[in-house]
Symmetry: C2
Subunit: 415 residues, 2 copies
């Protein structure tokens, strides 16, 4: 089974917005084992939309159209689908009610334009949109070869689109594909080795496995993900397959795995500190506040995260954090910063990063030199020096995640 | 004249990478007045590439193909173009030399695969790649209608692609389009009004102007840009047209304009502090380090930016910054934080932000409530309260840029 994607919007062609929807949909299709071969973007132009849709339907079993179902006159996805079906639009009373209700709830007058969103091609089926006014459309079209094709129209707003694709489109595609199985997937997130290194470690599992399948996703600064996708008759059976393989992979990958699915490196660190009933303080220099930003990105961080001293200037390291080390990119300085963070922020755990992001070297230290410090209760303060690759931006990003990863590993190693 | 875009790569369809190249190219084409109507992504599959290319060439005068010109066996863009031209590939000695030289410089052995990059369709022209091993390709194809079409193959790596498009493809397209003019563009970056408000303010200029043209680009958290694009016989004449219109627009837009082109809100703030011979310190709470991160993103920030006290916990606001205000999301607290930043960080200017990003309200203050503080030498410390829209992420981002914008405006207003 093959499903292609058509993204609608002149702003996409003009580069005012980058189309991220088709990549997201492609990823979901791959996860459930449906092929996708051709993704297109066209502007808000009825003729070109009709042409693209007809063209895609010649080869694909299904086409997912993103965008163009809003209330304004240039939203003409409904019209394009009706034209391809060879039918008119009809106003559906239950949709008028849904839209009016949404506007009622929001206590605003409903612009008459919004009623256009209650128009659906005759013979097509609306797809519920619980979080927006624009319903989706599911339409069947007969191909030149006499085989049925399906067109789905979904919103262009990413979170509305994602909910509709997850709740309606993917299950519908699975059913059409004759796939009676339930599909469950899970990503093991890793940090600390290269893609080829990771591939080598688990090559024998990848080769041995058909269900769950094992795939790699390189996410740059977020790490390398190992994605498991299992098919089974029930959700429980699929989850069991994933669980068994996850246990095997974790045995091989050990502490390279920092989390699964929605877990992030920063939530992994906060969870470990919270589990011990501790709090966390940061002292950062080269990263300028990025460590604090990532930790406070996590909702509910405030019960663990106390704050960060961004000591960008050398004399702030001395006056605020009590650093006496002569060289401020050194193991000694990183240790003193970590202990300073503990003391000044009243935190149980103090972590620190200092380094040279460039553009120029600093005090004879090469660009990319970064030192991490870690102070925990009941253990000697320690520090690690490393050399990070890349430009100023990458050194700061790598420095941030490398520090958090180090903290994770050290906390796990504590008795 | 119409130029379409074909992005190559199975990883794009599977969502492992988001295709940002076609949006970037679309923006450049719009800037020089060339239409673009159809952007496609296909995988590393020779047959589908040939089909997509033939299909696009039926309507477009030119097609820019991104990616698939690397050294590995699945890079088959060269083969696809040769097939569409109906010719074979030939190995070009000057390209072998260029590639060998690059490997010589890098002191590595040249994998034989890399020689594939010296193969060009017979009759096509290589496009120089000064920063990578993969040369581009410029090929002419005769359309069914007997009219000449042009295909450009450029790298998929964004910075190599951008340099090749800027240096070769855009000038070549301009020449093909019969356009003898030089095109110069400049973006005025604004913060502080809505897109419709901005459009209303300068509607009469937009209507009156044909050269330079005036367009809006909404960049979310980075602001609204007003882009001027001028055509003239020489670069100087085009620059003069831009200058004259920029003067008019700045007269109307006033202090909404915070910079042009590569200037950012954070560089605007640092420049103003530097111009007065001052230094800058930050105290931030709800933003968790984002203000410090943005300021230290600017290379060379260290002569002005001293650091940031991320006082996430209430008692850190008290112990480190000396806050005594009972309510820590209040004008009084914001002022005390700004003065604390001045004192603790030894900075001439202290700026501060405190607020509630959610998910839950805090001390009876609604989610979105944010207070900014500003302390400058020789003036009373001031504070501003506002209510920001959106979720946790947007409140933190908006809080950051709103604080920086406030500081910019206040510094400009100082005697």
């Amino acid at each position: 089974m093959r499903a292609d994607v058509l993204a609608i919007g002149t702003e996409l062609l003009l580069g005012q917005i980058v189309d991220t929807n088709s990549a997201w949909i492609g990823e979901q299709l791959a996860t459930i084992g449906i092929d996708t071969y051709d993704h297109r973007k066209v502007g808000d132009n009825l003729d070109r939309m009709i042409e693209a849709l007809r063209d895609l339907l010649r080869e694909a079993d299904a086409v997912i159209v993103c965008g163009g179902i809003g209330p304004t006159p240039d939203d003409v996805t409904r019209e394009a689908i009706a034209a391809v079906m060879g039918v008119e639009l009809e106003r559906r009373e239950e949709l008028v009610e849904h839209i009016a209700k949404l506007f009622g709830i929001r206590q605003r007058d409903m612009p008459q334009n919004n009623l256009r969103q209650a128009d659906i091609p005759i013979g097509a089926e609306p797809i519920p949109n619980p979080i927006g006014t624009a319903p989706g459309v599911r339409a069947e079209v007969m191909g030149d070869d006499g085989k049925k094709r399906v067109v789905y129209a979904v919103p262009g707003v990413p979170y509305e689109m994602q909910q509709m694709v997850n709740d309606f489109v993917l299950p519908d595609l699975l059913e059409l594909s004759g796939e009676r199985a339930v599909i469950v997937s899970r990503s093991l997130k890793t940090w600390g080795t290269s893609e080829s290194g990771l591939a080598e470690m688990i090559a024998h599992r990848v080769d041995a496995q058909q269900n769950p399948t094992i795939a790699f996703l390189a996410r740059g600064i977020e790490g390398l993900y190992v994605r498991l996708t299992a098919k089974a008759a029930t959700k429980d059976a699929a989850a069991k397959l994933i669980e068994d393989e996850e246990r095997e992979l974790r045995r091989i990958l050990g502490d390279l795995v920092f989390g699964v699915d929605d877990e992030t490196m920063e939530s992994a660190v906060l969870d470990r500190v919270r589990d011990r009933g501790w709090t966390l303080g940061v002292a950062e220099s080269v990263t300028g506040g990025m460590v604090g930003t990532r930790l406070s990105d996590v909702p509910g961080a405030s019960d663990v995260f106390r704050g960060s001293i961004v000591s960008y200037a050398t004399d702030v390291k001395r006056s605020v954090l009590g650093v006496t080390a002569e060289n401020v990119v050194s193991l000694e300085c990183a240790k003193q910063m970590a202990e300073g963070a503990q003391r000044v922020l009243g935190a149980d755990v103090g972590i620190a990063v200092t380094g040279v992001a460039g553009p120029a070297e600093q005090d004879g230290q090469a660009v990319g030199t970064v030192c991490f410090g870690l102070a925990v209760p009941g253990a000697p303060t320690e520090a690690v020096e490393t050399r990070l690759p890349g430009d100023r931006i990458r050194i700061r990003q790598f420095g941030t995640i490398s520090l958090l990863n180090l903290v994770r590993l050290r906390l796990d190693a504590l008795p």
